[in-house]
């Protein structure tokens, strides 16, 4: 088992390395380099004419004259050893300052979304499979079609519209005005939880549609297994048969796809965050892309992807505990 965990951990590190290279390539993609954009941004409109020499000075000062691989290693070295993600020019400060508490708010949104997704999809998926061809089952199919077709950001817009026209209040943001800049307190935390509900429901919308289908399908598969009939033949009560055999195994694919769900949620998060005005990483990512503030964008892309890779590692280990076949064959 320990060998299995070490193996998976090393695999995770390798993936993270390659991801960081990909992210660095994306950071390098926009035309021109960081120094040019920095100079343009700093001096445009000030009347100062910027010469090629000035740009070169900035280049040397930031170490941008070095070859790409050296820059990559100094960038990643700063992240690994000092947790320093580089400069952010949009705010004339470091990336770390710009990101601030957004990382934690992003995690809060991720986990509340996952909780909503599983609280809805697992029990309902199991119910739909057990009561196949019932009205509840059919309406679920319709609902999951809609979940796939109605993009989250449109759902967010619709909710906003309803809240403004019908409820006469806005559902956007993560904090009420009085807590916006306030230090953390219990009241602020409760306020945050209240504000998390709408983003979590919006983001869970399509993830739930996917998981519902998965849970229902595996549950149907498992229900037809001989082991279920055999358990009934042993005289086990029906509810216990259902929970101990098919339902227990229908959880496995859910656990193994947690990182896919995180991936889907992070994919949809930026646009939903923009619509709902959530102060987290996705919204900042769009801003930094539009401003071509690539150190910020790279840092966010890296953080989001690392979270996904880490969750994949955790789900691998959880799965090994849930399924003895993996545990005994992999370690």
């Amino acid at each position: 088992m320990i060998r299995f965990i070490v193996q998976r951990f090393l695999g995770m590190l390798v993936t993270m390395f390659f991801v960081s290279v990909m992210v660095f390539i994306i950071m390098e993609l926009p035309p021109g380099d960081y120094a040019e954009r920095y100079a343009f941004r700093k001096f445009s409109g000030t009347g100062v004419t910027v010469t090629e020499a000035d740009v070169n000075n900035i280049r040397v000062k930031l170490g941008l004259d070095r070859p790409a691989y050296e820059r990559y290693f100094s960038w990643i070295w700063g992240i690994v050893t000092k947790g320093d993600f580089g400069p952010a020019f949009a705010f004339e400060t470091s990336v770390n300052n710009v990101i601030g508490q957004r990382l934690w708010l992003t995690l809060a949104i991720l986990f509340s979304t996952l909780i909503v997704t599983y609280l809805v999809s697992i029990p309902i998926g199991i119910y739909a499979a057990v009561h196949r061809h019932s009205i509840a089952d059919y309406s679920l199919t319709v609902l999951s079609y809609l979940g796939l077709a109605l993009p989250n950001f449109l759902l967010a817009l619709i909710l906003l519209y309803i809240s403004v026209t019908v409820l006469d209040s806005s559902v956007g943001g993560l904090f009420s005005q009085e807590f916006e800049g306030a230090p953390w307190s219990w009241a602020k935390f409760v306020d945050l939880l209240k504000h998390l509900i709408v983003p979590a429901v919006v983001l869970a919308w399509s993830a739930t549609a996917f998981q519902l289908q998965t849970v229902r399908a595996t549950m149907l598969d498992e229900l037809n297994k001989l082991s279920v009939t055999a358990a009934r033949a042993r005289g086990i009560p029906e509810w216990k048969v259902l929970l101990k055999y098919p339902a227990r195994l229908a959880i496995n694919p859910v656990v193994s796809t947690v990182s896919f769900d995180a991936n889907r949620i992070f994919s949809e998060l930026p646009i939903v965050a923009l619509v709902l005005g959530l102060p987290e990483l996705g919204e900042l990512l769009i801003k930094s892309y539009i401003d071509l503030d690539m150190f910020v964008a790279g840092a966010i892309l890296l953080m989001l992807t690392f979270m996904i890779v880490f969750m994949n590692f955790l789900s691998d280990i959880a799965l090994a505990f849930l399924d003895p076949r993996i545990k005994l064959e992999g370690g």
Binding site: F18, P151, F153, G172, N263, S267, L274, L285, I308, V309
Partner: protein
């Protein structure tokens, strides 16, 4: 007694005829090609058929958008900024009219804000005429015309209302349909070609090439898709024309779309290579070309088609999402995402909910694609018995 016997013989003759018909049907079934079988199964899937027909209709409306819409996509009606939809009617309190009509519009300036406010004048009726001459346009780069399906001779008709610049939302939505659907088609094609090459190489050569490609696809898949698209789209030079951006967008959608497809193709190839009937063909001395052409391709062509249909909605949604946050296509191009930009803030949709109409097109198109994909998948799977 004899009549009884006679009727019995008739019955048996009838029965024989029935049996014969049945056996003919069975013969038709067993001798049908794979594609005929798929088509028969698909036709039974009523919902998927409806989805397919609806998409065909959308595509048709999109291709001839300038004909179906009364105005061009960029003409501004400065007298009717952010105007609500004008719904054609046949009757009102002033009586019935066989020809549908819309009301006239007069604009007044708000005395305080000095903004022009369009007001509907119920006394003025503008009859709607069909096949009227209007603004000239070119369809499919060759057909030039100035005939529109419908229009009014005096006043204006805006079925879906107008946007903040006074442009006709109906025409713009149809043009956007063309843009968004075509970007999906091109994106899927690019993804398909890439996947076929890369997945084919991986599946055919195996070994370390396969391993390397596998790892690469895994890495690409682990990065959240939309942020990745956005990163690539952010790199477009500002000075690019809308056409350059359009093609760059299809390329990006294709580029990021290939790993899933490539994985499927590779997996299919690897399993098929060891199928008994392929091995049997090899032992029988069939050439590699014959094996690929006669055995491998038909076996997974249906899977690939299913995958293509299923990946459409993702590409369309991605394009819409990217353009929506100004990281995809840019105005003056018109796509669903660009139209929805106007509906981005609450104030706008509160004031002009009709700006949300393009969203209905997105949802129904994606829904149709999903249902169609389900139908095609069921039809292509040789192990499903019925369409449900």
């Amino acid at each position: 007694m004899s009549t009884n016997e006679l009727s019995q013989r008739e019955l048996t003759q009838q029965e024989r005829a029935v049996q014969e018909r049945e056996s003919q049907e069975a013969l038709r079934y067993y001798s049908a090609t794979q594609w005929q079988l798929v088509w028969w199964r698909f036709r039974r899937h009523k919902l998927a058929m409806a989805g397919g027909l609806f998409l065909a209709l959308l595509a048709f409306l999109g291709i001839f958008a300038e004909f179906f819409g009364p105005y061009s996509g960029v003409t501004r009606n400065t007298d009717y900024l952010l105007g609500p939809p004008q719904i054609p009617r046949f009757w009102d309190e002033n009586g019935f009219s066989l020809r549908p009509f819309v009301y006239g519009v007069t604009t007044e300036r708000d005395p305080v804000t000095l903004r022009r406010i369009p007001t509907i004048d119920r006394e003025v009726r503008h009859p709607i005429r069909f096949f009227v001459r209007g603004e000239p346009y070119t369809v499919l780069k060759v057909i030039e015309s100035d005939i529109h399906l419908f229009g009014v001779e005096e006043g204006t008709v805006h079925l879906f209302g107008t946007d903040p610049l006074g442009r006709d939302l109906f025409t713009r939505t149809l043009i956007a349909t063309r843009t968004s659907l075509s970007i999906g088609v091109l994106g899927v094609l690019i993804a398909f070609v890439l996947a076929l090459i890369i997945g084919g190489v991986a599946g055919y050569f195996g070994g370390w090439i396969d391993y390397g490609i596998q790892r690469l696809t895994e890495i690409v898949r682990v990065i959240p898709v939309i942020p990745l698209y956005m990163g690539l789209a952010a790199a477009f030079p500002r000075e690019w024309s809308t056409q350059q951006i359009y093609f760059a967008m299809t390329l990006i959608l294709g580029l990021v779309g290939w790993p899933t497809l490539a994985r499927r193709i590779r997996g299919q190839l690897l399993t098929l290579r060891t199928e008994d009937y392929v091995v049997a063909a090899q032992i029988a001395g069939a050439s590699a070309a014959r094996i690929i052409g006669r055995h491998l391709l038909p076996a997974f062509a249906s899977y690939i088609i299913v995958d293509l249909v299923i990946s459409f909605p993702y590409l369309i949604l991605s394009e819409t999402a990217l353009s929506f946050v100004q990281l995809g296509l840019r105005p003056p191009d018109i796509s669903w995402g660009i139209l929805l930009q106007d509906a981005q803030n609450i104030r706008a949709i509160e004031q002009a909910p009709w700006l949300f109409i393009p969203a209905a097109f997105v949802v129904t198109a994606v829904l149709s694609f999903t249902i169609l994909g389900d139908g095609v998948r069921d039809a292509a799977d040789p192990y499903t018995v019925s369409g449900s």
